[in-house]
């Protein structure tokens, strides 16, 4: 089936540093999402993105977070500066124009903030 790739698979950084998580969505998909899963907790929606704009964001999407997809390349989640509570697995997803409700997920990036 369609594949979403995420780079890197793991990332360890010091608190206060900036981190960028990269997502390579399914080609021809136009809707993009980020979800966050803290160890032992439910996966939670962060943000969705379409046509260069954030459409919806949750209360977890702090001011330190930003998303973009410059020139149709990777869909990125940037955290600047990072905090200890940002340690989690971040999942990217994308969905097609038709059947927008069906989201295809990547394997996640495991972020550890020290």
């Amino acid at each position: 089936g369609p594949k979403v790739l995420q780079i890197p698979s793991h990332q360890i950084i010091d608190m206060g540093q900036m981190v960028t998580l990269n997502c390579d969505p399914v080609s021809n998909h136009l809707y993009f999402y980020w979800y966050k899963q803290i160890l032992g907790q439910q996966m939670e929606f962060l943000v969705n993105f379409y046509n260069g704009k954030v459409m919806e964001k949750s209360k977890l999407f702090k001011d330190q977070f930003s998303v973009e997809r410059p020139d149709g390349s990777y869909f990125t989640l940037k955290i600047q500066p990072t905090a200890l509570e940002d340690s989690a697995v971040y999942f990217c997803a994308s969905s097609p124009t038709v059947n927008q409700d069906t989201q295809y997920f990547g394997p996640g990036t495991r972020l550890l903030v020290l």
Binding site: Q42, M43, D101, F105
Partner: protein
């Protein structure tokens, strides 16, 4: 706001036996319901989805789910479990439509064992 409850964190089932994973949702409107599966070191994969029509919906790999509106439930079933079904299963709900956010349950880990 919507929510999803999966009351069983782990389910151990004999190979060849039937499986039911429970899911209850809370949503004031007409829900779009999903079951996803996550195998180790992989992303979530869609098993099936429902938003209208026959309340019993068929998915991949022999899975099916039944939407019971009166009970706000969307339980997942499989008639005969195989060892390859070892994974974490997530129930999710959304408002549907234009790239709606998914609200997930906490997941149920399925552990097949020898009969």
């Amino acid at each position: 706001a919507q929510s999803v409850t999966q009351p069983d964190a782990r389910v151990t089932v004999s190979e060849g036996a039937s499986l039911q994973l429970r899911c209850k949702y809370s949503y004031s409107g007409t829900p779009y319901l999903f079951w996803y599966v996550q195998y180790p070191r992989q992303g979530l994969q869609l098993l099936l989805k429902y938003y209208s029509g026959d309340p019993v919906v068929q998915g991949v790999n022999g899975f099916e789910a039944e939407f019971i509106k009166s009970n706000s439930s969307f339980h997942l079933r499989k008639a005969s479990v195989h060892w390859s079904d070892s994974a974490v299963y997530f129930c999710a709900v959304s408002a549907g439509g234009f790239a709606s956010a998914l609200t997930f349950g906490s997941g149920t880990k399925v552990i097949p064992c020898l009969p």
